[in-house]
């Protein structure tokens, strides 16, 4: 069965043709790869291909299908798209617009200030929330003129990475 694998903006068609132990035969966008691939340490893959040795590190994202992948040169967001994810994405058209209406903390930290209130009209560039981590404060600003719908955290709260903090209209 062929899968779609999204790497940043590239969408690749990937099919497993054969797998015996570490020996894997794969087709990626029509190119056949006959490789020896082994997880040598937790989250670290060693790939031998055509005599070359590659090291790739994986960090699992917020679902089992999402990864942050480090190669020597670059870091990528990679997502495996299977039937289930296709179904979900077909049902949630307009996700992008929704993301714009959410304020999500990109890192763990502590909420130090929320200068707005629920129901308040805010203008583009206005500070919505200030999160502090490792002695540095980051301000999250409104991208457009919006209305604050709901604030899900309060000052002094600790937040996790990717935690939803505020909903906008």
């Amino acid at each position: 069965m062929a899968y779609e694998v999204n790497l940043e903006h590239r969408s690749a068609k990937v099919e497993l043709l054969n797998r015996v132990g570490n020996k894997v035969l794969l087709d990626i966008d029509g190119h056949k790869y006959d490789v020896d691939i082994a997880m040598v340490e937790k989250g670290v893959y060693s790939i031998l291909y055509n005599g070359h040795s590659y090291n790739v590190e994986l960090i699992e994202g917020d679902s089992s299908k999402k990864y942050i992948v480090n190669t020597f040169a670059k870091t990528f967001n990679v997502e495996i798209v299977d039937a289930e994810s296709k179904y979900i994405s077909s049902r949630s058209q307009g996700m992008a617009a929704e993301e714009e209406n959410q304020v999500v903390s990109p890192m763990p930290g502590k909420v130090v200030k929320i200068p707005v209130k629920a129901g308040e009209e805010v203008t583009a560039g206005q500070t919505l929330i200030v999160v502090e981590a490792m002695k540095m404060q980051s301000e999250f600003k409104a991208s457009h003129d919006k209305k604050v719908l709901e604030i899900l955290v309060k000052e002094g709260d600790t937040v996790n990475a990717h935690q939803l903090m505020m909903k906008l209209e």
């Binding site: 990626i28 691939i37 020597f72 670059k74 990679v78 890192m107 930290g109």
Partner: protein, 502 residues
């Protein structure tokens, strides 16, 4: 004789201090906040005491709690490390009052050097060159204007209580003077609770070069040469090296003597650092003195061959320095990179979190001073620095090549780090040629943020690893029904390949 040292700090520096204690047969005592129960310094120490909640104000800056821990443990000395209480005269005084040795200078030296205006006055009196400017606190804009007319633009307005780049304003045009002056004052008030500011001439294309000094309680003072610290981002040092590529033997001797003079002016005792600002035409000026161990002290240790923490403890014991100035030499070259948990692609936003995997570099000529380990969660409350990598080589070229090798070997997953950013610095011509000043990162911005080339094959490797990992996970969830079918896989493979050839 000191037999037990309480280290009033955390992270890599706490571990580093305890290492020297262990070598000297001195027992070490750790203190920790609620967020640091699992931290390395607690595991490394012989004894450990909780001193309060996670925020620094309530733990690592809580003088009362630390003194209590020292008393309970029976520590006869306190080593403050850097940051936190290391330059706090009240803490040093309190230790003295309790009969505990403070591993550092007397409160007098801390107070004098801690106030930039008093430090400037003291240095001028001692014949140490300072950046042209005022020696008094400036109260009104009229006075500020007079000063600027006298010394000429551009100028820097600085907070007397300042440090770390806070409360500093650069003025290039005369019409900015009023607003910058008012802003610097209010920033200083907010950050330090003291709105005293002064004005000094702004040195164009400055180099930050500092001198390590050691002074014993018998009046012997030596310097351990320079450290070049011009690679900075937002006034925070990123890479340090010694010897400085800018230095020549004559200037080194002269600046070293000046540094010793500066230390003598405050009856200094212990390890300290005199920071200078050096212009392109090699004129140098006193900037400030750090009355503690520096983050970048290992490059000096490596090149001069002196354990600075051991010497600090020797001095605190009242012993004379075991060497004279003429015994000290610089051998080879050393570079230090600070590894931060931050995201260079996202405006260097701090990135605390769980270390899921770590491989530290090893091998000839390398030192790795860190404190994180696999499964450790970096807390959100403290500094984002996780490791210092220090390389040494016979020549500068070798030390840089070795650092590149070390950065290549350093693997850490779970948190984002500036490792790739550091690798790019090593690759810039300005750095390789040793021709840089504090504007280096601004000047090389494009090269430092350019993404490296990852061709189709490299991308495919990323896809492959993620895909294989995903399939393996799926298999674990749904184990294959026919496990004895393995034998026919090669047949399938052959069939498939034949089909694909068509």
């Amino acid at each position: 004789m000191i037999k037990k040292v309480l280290v009033a700090n955390r992270g890599e520096i706490a571990v580093r201090v305890m290492r020297s204690c262990r070598e000297m047969g001195i027992r070490s005592v750790a203190v920790f906040s609620d967020a640091d129960r699992n931290s390395m310094h607690v595991r490394y120490a012989d004894e450990a005491y909780n001193i309060g909640p996670a925020p620094s104000r309530e733990s690592y800056l809580n003088i009362e709690a630390i003194i209590q821990a020292a008393k309970i443990s029976g520590a006869d000395a306190v080593h403050p490390g850097y940051g936190f209480l290391s330059e706090n005269a009240a803490f040093a005084t309190r230790c003295q009052d309790e009969g505990i040795i403070f591993v550092g200078p007397d409160p007098y030296a801390i107070t004098t050097m801690g106030d930039k205006i008093i430090a400037r006055q003291t240095m001028i009196a001692a014949g140490v060159p300072v950046v042209p400017g005022t020696t008094e606190k400036i109260n009104d804009e009229q006075k500020a204007l007079e000063i600027v007319n006298e010394i000429g633009l551009p100028v820097m307005i600085k907070a007397s209580a300042g440090g770390g780049g806070k409360g500093m304003r650069l003025v290039k045009h005369i019409d900015e003077l009023g607003s910058s002056f008012r802003r610097a004052k209010s920033e200083a008030m907010n950050a330090f609770g003291n709105d005293a500011v002064y004005i000094e001439k702004y040195i164009e294309s400055p180099h930050h070069i500092e001198f390590q000094i050691l002074a014993d309680s018998l009046g012997n003072v030596v310097h351990l040469f320079e450290r070049e610290c011009s690679i900075q981002r937002r006034h925070q040092k990123v890479i340090e090296e010694t010897p400085s590529p800018l230095m020549n033997p004559e200037l080194r001797r002269e600046m070293g003597e000046t540094a010793v003079q500066a230390a003598r002016a405050v009856n200094y005792k212990g390890a300290g650092t005199i920071e200078f600002i050096v212009s392109d035409d090699l004129k140098y000026y006193f900037l400030e003195m750090n009355t503690r161990l520096q983050v970048e002290h290992p490059v000096t240790e490596r090149v001069v061959g002196v354990d600075l923490v051991k010497e600090q403890i020797n001095i605190a014991n009242g012993n004379p320095l075991p060497f004279r100035q003429e015994d000290l030499r610089q051998s080879g070259h050393s570079v230090q990179c600070r590894i931060y948990a931050e995201d260079p692609d996202n405006n260097f936003m701090p990135n605390p979190g769980l270390i899921s995997h770590i491989t530290e570099p090893h091998g000839l000529g390398l030192r790795c001073d860190g404190y994180v380990y696999e499964g450790y969660e970096i807390p959100i409350h403290y500094d984002p620095m996780i490791t210092k990598l220090i390389s040494w080589g016979e020549t500068r070229t070798e030390a840089i090549a070795r650092m590149k090798r070390a950065l290549y070997e350093y693997k850490i997953t779970g948190v984002k780090t500036n490792i790739k950013f550091l690798e790019k610095i090593m690759d810039t011509n300005d750095f390789k040629d040793g021709k840089y000043n504090t504007h280096f990162i601004e000047k090389n911005e494009a090269a430092l943020h350019a993404s490296r080339l990852c061709g189709t094959e490299c991308e495919d490797m990323a896809i492959m690893a993620a895909f294989v990992d995903f399939l393996t996970k799926m298999e674990r969830i749904q184990p294959p029904r026919y496990t004895d079918e393995l034998g026919s896989n090669w047949k399938d493979f052959g069939r498939k390949r034949n089909v694909l050839r068509l």
